[in-house]
């Protein structure tokens, strides 16, 4: 890619937005899973109900 071309800033912004939104969705999906699965493991560990 030729960075001296006009509108490089628009291209970088477009890819930047894509990274930020995709990355944000991935992070939040992973964080929610960690939270929920952690709570589930604690519940089963302490409650002794087994699974």
């Amino acid at each position: 890619m030729n960075f001296d071309a006009p509108y490089t800033i628009y291209i970088l912004a477009a890819y930047g937005i894509g990274f930020v939104l995709l990355g944000g969705a991935s992070l939040s999906a992973w964080r929610d899973w960690r939270r929920v699965s952690g709570a589930w493991a604690r519940l089963n560990g302490r409650g002794g109900r087994g699974s």
Partner: protein, 255 residues
């Protein structure tokens, strides 16, 4: 006869896989592979789209925005159809996993639609000379984003999650009429947005050197969506189990 019994066997296998407990186990095995493949495709698409593919004869380097914009648009439409289909499945069949999967998919579809709108705007300013115009394609795509917002809000609007799921499913099905409008708006009306380049009669009007990064990115977006969708559905399933356990222990406490 053999085909019928094969279909029955596949159906039984799918039903078994869709049992919440089995689903959590199966998706746990699948997610790392899908995510890794999606990430690899994404890197390949980035290298091809940003470095290897040529500039366009009219747009110059700005054509590269397409490799983000078009796959995101396809995902926005595809995920909406998926959410609507899952909603219909939940309404008719009453399978608990269908609503959970719809709830998990909708925010991802909204995310892809937002990527499409923002990157499209960043292309429109230098190429058309405007960030935004109210033509039929852009307006129907913005409506798609609002349909997603409506679905997300409705599915979380009630104390009883089943009521929210049903209301959101109805909205999702009604909103389906917008999908052909988005797709064919460029053919039915004069729009500033160009007509389809890839999915059109007579084959793509796009050079293979530019079609490849586009298809790579499209495959990457599909796989990344699939991985995130599995993670989020699994979260919904275990979250529902947690809520059930909490209400059970509350009842035991009262006794």
């Amino acid at each position: 006869m053999a085909a019928a019994s094969a279909i029955k066997a596949i159906h039984q296998t799918m039903l078994r896989a869709a049992q919440p407990a089995r689903f959590v186990e199966l998706s746990g095995m699948l997610i790392p592979w899908v995510a890794a493949l999606g990430a690899a495709m994404f890197v390949a698409g980035l290298v091809d789209g940003l470095a290897l593919s040529p500039p366009d004869y009219q747009q110059g380097e700005t054509v590269r925005i397409m490799y983000m914009h078009v796959p995101a648009a396809w995902m926005g439409l595809f995920v909406y159809a998926l959410v609507a289909g899952l909603g219909g499945l939940g309404l008719v069949g009453g399978h608990p996993l269908a609503f959970a999967a719809a709830r998990a998919a909708a925010p991802l579809g909204a995310m892809f639609t937002a990527v499409c709108l923002i990157t499209g705007s960043l292309w429109g300013k230098p190429m058309w000379g405007a960030w935004w115009v109210w033509d039929a394609r852009l307006t129907s795509m913005l409506l798609l984003l609002f349909l997603y917002f409506g679905h997300i809000a409705l599915s979380r609007a009630f104390d009883d999650p089943r009521r929210g799921d049903k209301a959101a499913a109805v909205l999702g099905l009604v909103g389906c009429v917008n999908l052909p409008i988005v797709k064919f708006s460029v053919d039915w009306w004069n729009t500033l947005h160009q007509p389809a380049s890839v999915m059109k009669l007579g084959g793509p009007a796009i050079d293979p050197s530019m079609l490849w990064p586009l298809l790579l990115m499209a495959a990457a977006f599909k796989l990344i969506f699939f991985a995130l969708w599995l993670v989020r559905t699994r979260t919904e399933v275990v979250g529902a189990r947690l809520r059930a356990a909490a209400s059970r222990s509350r009842m035991e406490g009262e006794r």
